[in-house]
Subunit: 359 residues, 2 copies
Amino acid sequence: MALSLPETFTSVTLAERPKANIIPGTTFQTKSDNRTPSPSTLKDGEILIKTLYLSLDPAMRGWLNNTRSYIPPVQIGEVMRGSSVGIILASKSANYKTGDLVVSNSAGWVEYAVLQEKNCEKVPDTGDGKKRSAIDALSVVGMTGLTAYFGILRVGEVKEGDFVVVSGAAGATGSVVGQIAKLKGATVLGIAGSPEKCKWLTEELGFDQALNYKDPNYAKQFREATKKRLIDVYFDNVGGEILDLALSRAAPFARFVMCGGISQYNEAVQKGPKNYLMIVSMRIRMIGFIVFDYAKEYSSAREELAQWVREGKLKRGETILEGGLKEAERGLVKLYEGANTGKMLVEVAKLNGTEKSKL
Amino acid sequence: MALSLPETFTSVTLAERPKANIIPGTTFQTKSDNRTPSPSTLKDGEILIKTLYLSLDPAMRGWLNNTRSYIPPVQIGEVMRGSSVGIILASKSANYKTGDLVVSNSAGWVEYAVLQEKNCEKVPDTGDGKKRSAIDALSVVGMTGLTAYFGILRVGEVKEGDFVVVSGAAGATGSVVGQIAKLKGATVLGIAGSPEKCKWLTEELGFDQALNYKDPNYAKQFREATKKRLIDVYFDNVGGEILDLALSRAAPFARFVMCGGISQYNEAVQKGPKNYLMIVSMRIRMIGFIVFDYAKEYSSAREELAQWVREGKLKRGETILEGGLKEAERGLVKLYEGANTGKMLVEVAKLNGTEKSKL
């Protein structure tokens, strides 16, 4: 039996490509649509979901540019792309039943969606109840957790005794990167944007040290922190001057794991690392990666991440915006301003009583 | 029996560290010394050489900076470092005899030097006589040839069918890189600084295509040349806008072999590649290297290079400056201006009749 549905639903589409910053109300268009998907139209292998949480990710800014990249850009008028968790309201799939929680990259910024079963995965159990597992499915065992996992283990090849530096360390990916590096026996320095974030990294997540890059003495502090020991692995989420300073403190044969450059995404003209010739003199391996390349191994990686969470070895934090789908565009702007500690999510809808009873 | 020696000899030392460009007459000091090394003072294992050719290399600019690098900087007052070929005038080594030609990184910018036998190597026979072999020992089978060899084969991992782009392609390293890539079955595009250099690359060295980056339409031509096929391997000797454009045309998983950045060496503030985030989206492996790391394999690599030269598979060119050691500093400035086609050398001295007879 299907659960109840409203007559209209909301979706958010791309209205125009931003030249620099995303402008709420201009970049995206929030639409109310009276063609809410109906359980009766489902074809075999399809499910109908109600979105509960939406993931906000730094990479989203890149999807708005009409440039050659690892993924086609979101088209003007198209629903904005993103990972989300939903509850199944109706199912014509043998693998899923009403009330199941699923995670998908195919629904995007919508309140309701019809999905192919092949584009969904069940929410993994992280041990603290279904709501917590739903959040974790977008975070520590979601795309950002997987990004951290493959980035630090496969690309960074972190090993015991390494000195690892992580930028954007209090973000969804960085916070997991540092913890995995610690699990592997590395010494970890995190770079974040406030004293509170730094405190969270060292006191809650077990980072060895954390530095606030907004501190006027940051450069001096960073040089001090890398004085005894040069950097073996640098995991970059931010680019800009933080990357430049890291290059100047790289050990010979250091691995630079290039995951992102949030400081540059909204710049009309991006800035390259002026110390890039350290790549030559220090024989740095600067390696870009995209988590998608490891898709075949997602499931075993998710299992290991979920295991670490259940054992209390991997902690997580999140910043959840309430107010529904219309908050997503403002949330994205806040993400680039560094407002989040841990994963940034939008709570698109709460479960109603009937839905809760089906969970 | 030793050969004759003059009473005074010339050496060139570092006088001051340049902030940007090298200034002839200011950066270096040319000295006349009346303590010409004497055969009678040689200790066991030492040889006395007369310098014939001196190698001029883009990397030299970096050795003048007092910054952390792969090699200590040349100190103020110290003889300028460099590779050279000399003829042995006297020997107390069992491995070398008077008249032998040796190549060494230990003599530097001097007319005469006493060297330890362990810091010398015999000039390999490239098949066209001793003078030609002496030049090749600094070029195609010297440090620049070895740099090309390890860079394109080990770092670039070039393989049949790759599309390889080489910057600084008409230089000592680039010209060998492109030819080795061709030997391995790659398609090769060279980037150089004049129509004559481009012609040399395609007509003499067998590059598939060459583009002049000084042409006002270079960017357009480059995009056209990389339209059908994106770059698999980029071998960088220059940095700057040429690197930036190459990043924009990288194939997924491209290897960027970072050998040098001649466009940036003389800049007071260097410029990083603003398109560096292509490293992330295209999963580029940008890998720095220094030929010294392959020192254990020099001898087998030299053998293969010499073999290719003898078989006519590897061609070489050089720009030889006459006028003796005092031309070295001006030659270095010219090198950064791109005056050379192939290897740039200074002829420090010619052989006299007695020396010729000993060869």
